[in-house]
Symmetry: D2
Subunit: 358 residues, 4 copies
């Protein structure tokens, strides 16, 4: 269980870090949508390793093939099968960790759960799995774009370095202008400097990705368990290294009084709007047409270039030494993953909402 996400617009992923390949089936994409493969490729470039000096220097080409569901450039309504072959899956030597449990990785839990594990590069628990999500999310974005909905994420915190501006004060179009994906260039520079220092320290650091969804119609989200923000939260918490999710006023909102927090309604043209937006665009689990915004907390990457205490499969004390090329901070590359998962949630709810009324 657990390899599918969504109900109507639904993805199922498969694949390990160092198997032959990975992929995704995208089901429920309505027929007639132009599938822009270049756009999918661009999105995957944003996620892929080796894109800058503050990401891992590992090379993965992430070439994909669409095997089905698209005919003459358009979706046909049948499942879109997309495959990404692992080109260099045999090149590495994993014998140094084959029977050891890397601290704060999923080695131990997978081994206990299944009695066996593919130890090469983390196997199924590798962040490589998110390549399939980004590909599927790109198609969801194309679908949302058709209805004027956009999803934009950016890095708002690295370590204790906070952006310190609300998204309304920022020009989100500048997000891609720097390698850390923070739309404020000055903060971006400091974040890059911090990550670079952490890398030199052979260490890693955490961060926060923020995301804004604009153009959502009123009415997405299903009471009572499949509230829009509950599905967004689950989507984000399913991304590797995520430790927290908050939307609208979030954890800060608990300090407020109702009289401050409530979002007064007013009429603007033919539209009901709210004066403030502590609700984060979602009320009672259903979108109200205002911007949806949320934050996603990422812990520091578990693989560090230092010796660490651990045990092996036999229960003996061992030292685990970091090796290879890893990200000192995951948030720059997490930006497109957060967007992809958000797009998938919205695409799904957009389709579900077609069934609400007679």
């Amino acid at each position: 269980m657990g390899n599918s996400f969504g109900r109507i617009f639904r993805i199922s992923t498969f694949g390990e870090s160092h198997g032959l390949g990975l992929g995704v089936i995208i089901e429920g994409c309505p027929a007639g949508l132009p599938i822009d493969e270049d756009f999918i490729r661009e999105e995957m470039q944003r996620r892929k390793p080796g894109q800058s000096k503050i990401t891992t220097q590992r090379k993965e080409e992430d070439e994909f093939q669409i095997l089905s569901g698209v005919f003459e450039g358009k979706s046909t309504g049948t499942p879109i099968g997309l495959v990404i072959m692992n080109t260099d899956q045999k090149s590495k030597d994993y014998s140094h960790i084959a029977d050891k449990f890397r601290p704060s990785h999923a080695d131990f839990t997978y081994f206990e759960k299944y009695g066996v594990r593919d130890y090469r590069g983390g196997g199924r628990s590798s962040a490589r799995e998110t390549a399939a999500r980004v590909a599927a999310g790109a198609i969801a974005k194309l679908f949302l774009r058709h209805y004027g909905i956009t999803v934009q994420a950016f890095v708002s915190q690295v370590g204790d370095l906070k952006l310190g501006k609300s998204y309304q004060e920022l020009d989100l179009a500048k997000t891609e202008d720097n390698i850390v994906r923070c739309p404020d260039s000055e903060t971006a520079d400091r974040m890059i400097e911090l990550i670079d220092q952490v890398r030199k320290d052979r260490d890693t650091i955490g961060g926060i990705v923020s995301c804004v969804v604009k153009g959502t119609p009123v009415g997405l989200g299903e009471p009572v368990f499949d509230r829009l923000h509950a599905d967004l939260g689950k989507a984000m918490l399913s991304i590797n290294a995520v430790k927290g999710f908050e939307y609208g006023s979030g954890f800060e909102g608990v300090k407020m009084r109702g009289s401050q927090h409530n979002d007064a309604f007013y009429q603007e043209g033919d539209r009901v709007r709210t004066r403030s937006n502590h609700s984060g665009g979602i009320q009672g689990g259903i979108s109200n047409g205002e911007d949806i915004y949320f934050n996603v907390a990422f812990k520091p990457v578990a693989t560090i270039m230092q010796d660490q205490e651990s045990v092996n499969e036999s229960g003996e004390s061992v030292v685990v030494s970091g090796k290879g090329r890893h990200d000192p901070c995951v948030v720059p590359r997490a930006v497109p993953i957060v967007e992809a998962m958000a797009a998938l949630v919205l695409a799904d709810h957009l389709l579900i909402s077609r069934t609400n009324k007679l």
Copy 2:
């Protein structure tokens, strides 16, 4: 969609605040479990309104009936149908808000989504719906108890008043000793005072509920989308008024370095353990046998005893005036709801994990 939760141990709820009644079907509870109705009743008492001076003074008796699935005191494996009748559903007058949208309530979004809404007491969006969850959660708790798993929540913050101790420093058994459900009596007193002041101000305030799960076996949680913490997050975010979820090191963890954050493994008897627990008992989405702990942020209750700007169904400006008896702060009554949802997630994953190996 959206009225069911879980896959094997699965609940489906129905019911509005002021309809004839509400209820829940609990599916997948294994056969042979003694169903202790007194325990269910106690759990519902913890949630029900009118239990103290800092909760709403509204009276709801929450008497339930189990209609099926239990025979001679034990679960039979067939669905447990449980109904809670609304005893005074006709007594109130809702004409003052029948066509108005209360700020930061779900009135507007429900109306737009469905073209119709049951405006009495919030209808389906009322927190009354959580009575069914608590009843179902009590049965999940009985199931977990059979395997030595306990779920314990408590209030750790009200407004900006923080408990300031980790759960290990507290005696969680004292949680029920005071009406705010904070296990530290001194902090509890200050919280109660604060809530009482807010109430007198005809206002409301937010807070945080923390939760600890002990005794979980290794191996619960399904990669990659149904990670244990992703399901816990969705469960919590599906509770009324919740704005955020974090587990383990959470949002604070983003500031840490990997070398601080990583939880070193060591062997203790026949068990692999971790020296620290920033992972919050979950690694790669799968329980590792350490305590699971998480925080849930609740916004201030939307209903305040003050006049607020709004619009009505015709788009005209109106004033909405708070009326009736409402909670000045939701967290004391949210404690059993958080526990119930956590218990449901764990019960479900406990059953799913039976299918992992040959």
Copy 3:
């Protein structure tokens, strides 16, 4: 698992024959549908025991209450909770079969599966469970009627007494004119006579219910597993005592050649139609706009008024003696159940089909 049916228009049932009550949650009924309680009542009358001399003389009143999801006579989009209390659940003595396995009943399999069973009246395996289905199906019928779709079933065979006419040769409006629900009055008389003879012989007999769905739009049914006829088949096979399902040309069709069996297309006004309808209104699993028709085979009722060889829970040889008031033939009362399940499948697919195109 297994107590829910459908994906969007979805029902979940609970309840045993002799517990406090049974019921159903109907999820996904779009908002704004007038819910005609009298119609639901009429449908339940068609199913209920004691309605004629050829059905069981047992009395069940089948009074239902709608607890939620309907406001001012219309569906609100939230789950419709419907409860049917068992009024005389304590009146009977089941000690004579409490530890015996009745031949061709579910006593043995339930006991082995769950290690416990509610032996009173068959518990969850009782046909009484279908009362909830008929109630839910009535709401599905109201939904379909809104779109001009009708579902009509009738008895086409009892024992080896076949109706011998196709549904096109019959006036289906006459189905309710006689107690066996066969629209041909002459055949109906012979069927009634046969069932009455079987009853006098303290025996039971099987039969076939046929069903016709008219007015279906083109495009219902999801390739490849959720073909419309596959879902209809599963729905029918989930009814107690059903042993077979065929649609269109069915089992007879295997004898035909393709040149006979193929349904030639032609244009009629703005509609594409087929000259013959061996396809039974479904091609490639998707409705083509022609009438959908199918047959459902029911075995003879297992409870007979005769002594039968069996074993008890301890594995000892015992004699099981029929007692009480049971149906000598199930098909007359199965007619509304077949219709209900067919209506549920169509309502579900009608909603799903809204998501097929941009």
Copy 4:
């Protein structure tokens, strides 16, 4: 929707007849199962075209690759991604049917449903999709074999040529001894002759595949909707060209009296057994340990080498002429498909049944 089957042991398929490739994700296969690729290959050989003179002479190599979920020859518990590339997908000319609706094919319904269709070789509605099912079913068979459960299908009727023996009177091991897959050599010869004649007539003919499952433990099948036979029925009805399903006494059983039909229980060693098996190994939807057996009706293949009346996408009258190499009768190649789908249903229920008791 509709491209997944199963709940725990769950498959999701994708792919069109003439796209780049097709494939399947197999989820929920427990960890530790040896995955014998040769066995998968053998099963696919049984399904593939061009295997004998009575099947289509079309060549498809059906080479598959397992991309994930298997490590060092064993399942790891993670999803098994399996891909079959279409090697000659561009070689054919489909312009003669590109805008025509072939009678009794899915061309018209797909076009109306989606507004677009991949007309090459039937696209998603092609029987080629079943290659993915057979591959997945082979893995399900390996899983079942681990628990001593076997699934064996055979051809029992072609046109009006019936085998005329019950499966107990046959040596099912002889099924693969002839090209029509009928275990009675004399009948097989006559069936082959008939199919060959039909082929020479440029026509097609239907048939019946029967299937027997041995070694099933007591307790598989979930009341009330997911009865074991209801899931088997849906599985079979989801196969191309299937028009009917019956199990145990089936349609013939309706003619019987309860006193004949009931299966008396008796004790044999430590096992409860039944003297007859009209129940077909399933009572109340749950397996009782006896052999499960059922029949599946296949209509004559729709593609015939004759001119047929039809319309095109513009509603104009056209003649559709059969072309290419097609099966005159589908049942010989349907045998492994029926087995595959049955194996998938049983594997799923075997895993679900682990959750029934404490």
